[in-house]
């Protein structure tokens, strides 16, 4: 570890902190239907979209209608993307003449992008046409980010409203999120990325004649350079915590992430909306202190994750290449397998921590080649439910589930009915929260167990033997259910069984977890508000933040510790003893 590495973390944190209030306040304005400075341009577009889509923008929905619209829209757009993939060879904007995508891969990819996972079982630059990337996948980058945000906002409304049967209009929330937040931000951001070197064109791939031609008598050595409309995808990929790369190497690819500064921007754009949403929460519920307490709890977990990951990546094992590990002023010591020189150890560890704290899943280094403990950090981050800022929207509503559980636990301690911002937390609310918390480990652990026990189906895809093999499978299903999308990418997941079952893993991890959240929102909205009493546990204090961190860690640790101890922990102990596989 170097002082510079920690300084990069500190500067990143300060810049993030500075964005929280302006971003959060702006989002609150947009989602409460207030006017913004973009109105003169965007209001007419907004009205036009309502008209063309048949949206009755003045009608609000109860939670069932809200959930129904969300599911209907997701199903339609999923099917649309599936069809585009299956037919891409007959459609335009396919200069490389790529073939139609097979049914299991097309299903997996459509499910993956619909659920904000953006797991990729394929090498994009040799699989997906430009049309598929733009109309099939970029659209879902926008949709899934939007859906995450609107569900979080619906939940905030549920907390805030009293004796109300409705929690908002899904179509209005979605349209306003797209038009006022995501699209303008992406246009500016994508242009900035182009300025730094991210390509944006529709040409066929470039064939370059290499500088070094060892034998002039032979045909010239060439390199075919994949490009395309990369920047437009990259912007929403990061800002929407999607994470599906235009290239297989994702943000490690110099065309997706060309400079240390683009790396900084990409990391910032992962957290900027989720962090801002904590302020939106405080503002919309009229309790800014609560928003900051949630922010603080998230920040503590973020710092802890980075510290462990950075330490582990800076301390490789003697069994591998101990002698070559000594650092110098111009070459940092540590594990550089799968990492890019321009990011180094610190920039790669920080990115890995952020991308899995959130449900982003973009990677700028190969997690599979991380040290066992360094690679356990991304895995554990996802297992905690991606509530450390988290995915856009999904991070906040995930954390609010933990908030409900925290006030419930605090209520048990003092023997009173728990309250949360004036709402009594009762049986139904706790049941929905527990449902949310149980679906996640259930789907991950049962699918992992099934695949680990199937040599022909599960184990044959492994890239690495020993305990790391278990980690590869565990990471895949955790990443899927958590809608993260990063991978221990050595695992060959492009097989029928992995494609199909990961598709379900992602859909269950997304929608079966969203429904309890909306049910909770609907139930909270119809409750009356009770004034705070001396017995009320305040949710805007440092004590609350500590309790929240404790709840997240205890729930996550109790659930997943056995699996982690057989994977990364065991691998670490054996590797320390010099054991290779």
């Amino acid at each position: 570890m170097t002082a510079n590495g920690w300084l990069q973390f500190a500067v990143y944190s300060m810049v993030l902190l500075a964005t929280v209030k302006p971003v959060g306040a702006y989002m609150a304005r947009v989602l409460e239907g207030e006017s913004t400075w973009l109105d003169p341009v965007l209001r007419p577009c907004e009205r036009l979209i309502y008209k063309l889509s048949g949206v009755k923008s003045d009608k609000e929905m109860n939670w069932r209608e809200y959930a129904g619209s969300l599911l209907g829209f997701s199903a339609v757009s999923l099917l649309f993307t599936y069809v585009i993939e299956r037919l891409q060879a007959y459609l335009p904007f396919n200069p490389q003449h790529l073939a139609n995508v097979g049914p299991d891969l097309a299903w997996n990819t459509a499910a993956s992008f619909t659920t904000n996972t953006n797991w990729q079982s394929y090498t994009p630059e040799s699989t997906m046409s430009y049309l598929t990337e733009m109309a099939g996948l970029v659209t879902h980058n926008f949709y899934s980010a939007t859906i995450g945000i609107v569900v979080a906002v619906a939940l905030i409304r549920g907390i805030k409203r009293t004796r109300s049967g409705v929690i908002g209009n899904f179509w209005v929330d979605a349209t306003r999120t797209l038009l006022y937040i995501l699209v303008p931000a992406c246009i500016l951001y994508a242009l900035a990325l182009v300025a730094m070197g991210v390509p944006q064109n529709m040409h066929a791939y470039t064939v370059a004649h290499l500088l070094e031609q060892p034998n002039p008598a032979q045909p010239a050595l060439t390199q075919t350079i994949g490009q395309g409309p990369v920047a437009s995808q990259e912007a929403i990929k990061m800002l929407g915590t999607n994470g599906g790369g235009f290239f297989n190497a994702n943000s490690a690819h110099p065309y997706e992430n060309p400079t240390p500064f683009s790396n900084f921007l990409e990391m910032l754009s992962i957290f900027i909306i989720p962090a801002g949403l904590t302020y939106t929460l405080g503002r919309m519920t009229g309790s800014p202190g609560h928003g900051w307490a949630v922010f603080a709890a998230m920040f503590v977990l973020f710092t802890a994750g980075f510290a462990v990951c950075y330490w582990a990546e800076s301390h490789p094992y003697n069994a591998i290449h101990g002698a070559a590990q000594a650092g110098s002023a111009t070459a940092p010591a540590g594990n550089m397998e799968g990492k890019e020189v321009r990011f180094g150890i610190a920039g790669s560890s920080l990115f890995a921590t952020i991308t899995t704290d959130a449900s982003c899943g973009a990677v700028n280094a190969m997690h599979d080649s991380f040290t066992p403990l360094g690679g356990m950090v991304p895995l554990a981050n996802i297992m905690l439910g991606e509530v450390v800022f988290g995915g856009v929207g999904s991070g906040l509503y995930g954390m609010l589930i933990f908030v409900v559980l925290s006030v419930f636990i605090a209520g048990l301690m003092v023997g009173r009915t728990p309250e949360y911002l004036g709402k009594k937390i009762e049986s139904f609310d706790v049941k929905m929260s527990m449902l949310y918390s149980l679906i996640f480990p259930f789907i991950i652990l049962s699918l992992t167990a099934a695949f680990v026990l199937s040599p022909g189906i599960g184990l044959s895809s492994l890239n690495n033997p020993g305990p790391h093999g278990l980690s590869e499978i565990l990471y895949a299903f955790t990443s899927g259910a958590g809608n993260n999308g990063s991978a221990f990418a050595g695992l060959n997941a492009n097989t029928w069984w992995y494609n199909v079952m990961l598709g379900w893993d992602m859909l269950i991890g997304r929608f079966l977890m969203m429904i309890p959240v909306l049910a909770l929102a609907g139930n909270l909205a119809q409750k009356k508000s009770v004034p705070p009493s001396p017995g009320t546990f305040p949710v805007n204090t440092a004590l609350f933040a500590v309790l929240l961190v404790g709840t997240v860690l205890i729930l996550g640790a109790l659930t997943f510790f056995p699996a982690l101890s057989l994977g990364p922990v065991l691998e670490h102990l054996l590797l320390k003893a010099g054991q290779l596989f």
Partner: protein
């Protein structure tokens, strides 16, 4: 389900405006129409608008930062290409396709506990140390990058290769070291990332120095 809205007047929400619970949308109809409208907007309008803007403002970058020499594209300054002769600086080893395949980017994905990784790295180190006894090998020389297309090497790596390149070209080692020093790109703002040397740009300059 619906109860009359009794709301704090300070709370301005859309619920106030709406007395009716049923939004009256057809889920499928609205979903299909909304999908069509937004696909046109986000799936075609947005990327094509950006392509136009990028082409206008940053044409070199938008087209992949290609390097043209004698009217011919010889590569991209952002993408590593293969160099094997002693006359050139070598990029990091590549796990992209069969090496430096810019249509199949990616890393080795070998675990730290995988004996294959340890053997590969040790074999590379042994080879380098035979050629340059006593010099410690910079780690980026023997590890594959995440993309397999890492255009950069560390300054240590470049200096390590200086004597070989100088010998092969009949240059003084000092001249080559001066060239390397000119090509070191420091951390952005002295803070972000790591110091690095772009291999293709260094090699192009090397050709300017001696054909």
């Amino acid at each position: 389900m619906h109860s009359t809205a009794v709301m704090n007047p300070a709370q301005k929400t859309q619920a106030e405006a709406s007395g009716d619970v049923s939004a009256g949308h057809s889920v499928w109809g609205t979903s299909i129409r909304f999908t069509i409208v937004t696909v046109l907007l986000l799936g075609l309008g947005y990327p094509f608008l950006l392509t136009g803007l990028a082409e206008l403002v940053f044409p070199h970058r938008a087209n992949g930062s290609l390097v043209v020499r004698n009217g011919r594209v010889i590569g991209s300054e952002l993408i590593a290409q293969s160099f094997t002769s002693d006359r050139y600086f070598h990029p990091r080893p590549s796990a992209a396709g069969n090496g430096y395949d810019a249509t199949s980017s990616g890393g080795s994905n070998l675990a730290q506990s995988n004996a294959k990784l340890a053997q590969r790295i040790q074999a590379d180190i042994d080879k380098l140390q035979q050629q340059n006894p006593g010099k410690s090998v910079p780690i980026d020389m023997v590890t594959t990058s995440g993309s397999g297309l890492d255009p950069d090497i560390t300054p240590d790596n470049a200096y390590y290769q200086a004597s070989r390149v100088a010998r092969a070209r009949g240059l003084s080692e000092n001249a080559v070291r001066v060239l390397i020093a000119r090509h070191i790109e420091d951390r952005t703002l002295g803070l972000l990332g790591e110091p690095r040397v772009n291999v293709l740009e260094l090699n192009l300059d090397l050709d300017n120095l001696s054909k």
